[in-house]
Amino acid sequence: MHAPDGFLNAGTAVATGAVSLGAVGVALRQTRDVLQDRQIPLAGVAAAFIFAAQMVNFPVAAGTTGHLLGGALAAVLLGPAMGAVVVTVVVVIQALAFADGGLTALGYNILNMAVVTAIGGWAVFVLLRRVMPKTVNGLSLAAGLAAATSVVMSSMAFSIEWLFGATAPVSFAKVFGAMVTVHLLIGIGEGIITALAVRSVLSVRPDLVKGAEGMDLEPAGRKRSLRALTIGGLAVAFVIATVVAQFAVDDPDGLERVATDTGFAESGRDSTLSDTLFSDYATQGLGNEALSLAVAGATGTLITLAVGWGLFAIVRDRRRPARSPV
């Protein structure tokens, strides 16, 4: 995700730079009220923690590895403003001292990795916090789902920037598809790790979790296995794919709309898979529209699961212990 110099054009770099500067400025003003000089060492140590957490690499597919972005984790632990500031510091230092990410790419790197993940992740977390049970497990699950969503949001933000500032003749659709697919997988990893990390902090020092402030949490209670969590998450995915998707508006989404309006829709071809069994989220040969959508959605979820599972099974090294993170 640490894009180097020249990855997007100059206009996009300047525009995203302005947005990032504004967002970080607001976050700084908010933190300044709560963060007295006395807490600066704490913020610094938290930044070092996020830096270390970003070294937790997990493989995605041949040659690519994902690492924790940590934006949502930082937001849940430290609050959105402080989280965004801390991750911004991490991204800037990575660019300056470690040459990881270009100096002129700082605008979009900060936007994608610090602002979108911390603030977007926090927004999702707050929404989920309302519906989840007020327990350690409920809150951790909310944090995990928020983290997974934040990674996908980050990849979408990059794709949208690509739409305006592409430096290569690769269509938005291709970049969007590839980025979002890969980051869905990374997001699953990020979500699981974030949920469990938050859970472990909550069970030892709940006072350190900003996202649990003012909540009277029930203790973790009966220990539930990660297997149960995985199955639960899968159930949620199924419900979304088969039931919630029924309510999805059939009108073109924002991008398709823009594409039709500006006339570049014709230039985009349907993929070669467009007349296979489940094209356009419907199952060929099934009359009932709702049923056809549900079958397509459920199959899609299953296939995604199988692919993700398979990838993890393939890339995981069976003999050697977990590689040292540094």
Binding site: P4, D5, G6, F7, A10, A13, L28, D37, R38, Q39, I40, P41, L42, A43, G44, V45, A46, A47, A48, F51, A52, M55, V56, G63, L68, L73, L77, V90, V92, I93, L96, A97, F98, A99, G102, L103, T104, A168, P169, V170, I192, T194, L196, A197, R199, S200, V204, R205, L208, S225, L226, T230, F312, A313, R318, R320, P321, A322, S324, V326
Partner: protein
């Protein structure tokens, strides 16, 4: 450990580049990278001269070539992406070594390769010739909010301590036979991240108490009197000036 010993990044030398005040170097490096980024990709010669200029700075600063090359490895993932572009790119095709590739994609590959390499090399040289605490002081002198520089300086001071802690946790897990294969076996990785956070936070609290005990008032003492003379500014602007001239020439001669 701690301040001023970030040897992984800094190369101890006594060169004119090392002696330049940090804020001057920061301005120079950022301006140069901006100039490179806006240079048109068709101006191959401009990137060549930019590279020669950076190599000259490297020579004057006596930074080993191997050091720069090894640290350039961070851009490899994007290099891999760049190499895919000629094959997935759309538009007119051209033949290279008998393989049909997208012409536009080829240019895009070159654009990313050239700019990413020059940009990363500039950052590497900046970090190699400037100790991190001074780099942060330089930012303060450039009016970057003190809250940001203070957080960054504490982060860098404790980075090695915390990554060391993480490494020890991983070793301890491996020593107990932890070798995860499935996603539901990832729990120890995650709980160790949680434990790392608590340890880091409690360490932060102790640091703060220790600093108060030693008379910390909220502002770090200024150890370096890095004021820049006019001559130093002139020396340091040579690089971005060259970069800007090449960028303009590139656009004019296109």
């Amino acid at each position: 450990m701690g301040a001023g010993h970030a040897h992984a990044l800094y190369v101890h030398e006594h060169s004119p580049v090392h002696r330049l005040p940090p804020h001057v170097k920061i301005v120079s490096a950022v301006a140069f990278v901006v100039a490179v980024a806006v240079t048109p990709r068709e101006a191959l010669w401009a990137f060549g001269i930019d590279a020669i200029a950076l190599l000259t700075v490297r020579g004057v600063a006596r930074i080993p070539m191997r050091f720069v090359l090894a640290r350039l490895a961070v851009i490899l993932p994007f290099v891999a992406f760049a190499f895919v572009l000629p094959f997935v790119g759309e538009g007119e095709k051209t033949d290279v070594l008998g393989i049909s590739v997208s012409e536009e994609g080829l240019w895009a590959m070159w654009n990313i390769l050239a700019k990413a390499t020059l940009g990363a090399a500039t950052s590497i040289l900046l970090a190699a010739t400037t100790e991190v605490p001074r780099l942060l002081k330089g930012f303060e002198r450039l009016r970057v909010p003190r809250l940001l520089t203070a957080i960054a300086s504490f982060m860098l001071r404790y980075l090695e301590v915390i990554t060391g802690e993480l490494r020890r946790m991983r070793v301890a897990m491996a020593a107990r036979g932890y070798s995860p294969r499935w996603i539901w076996q990832a729990k120890p990785i995650a709980t160790s991240a949680g434990a790392l956070f608590i340890r880091s936070y409690e360490r932060g609290e102790r640091i703060h108490a220790a600093m108060l005990a030693r008379g910390f008032t909220g502002v770090m003492p200024d150890l370096y009197a890095d004021t820049a003379t006019r001559r130093q500014w002139l020396t340091a602007t040579a690089l971005p000036l060259l970069g800007a001239t090449l960028a303009i020439l590139g656009w004019v001669l296109r």
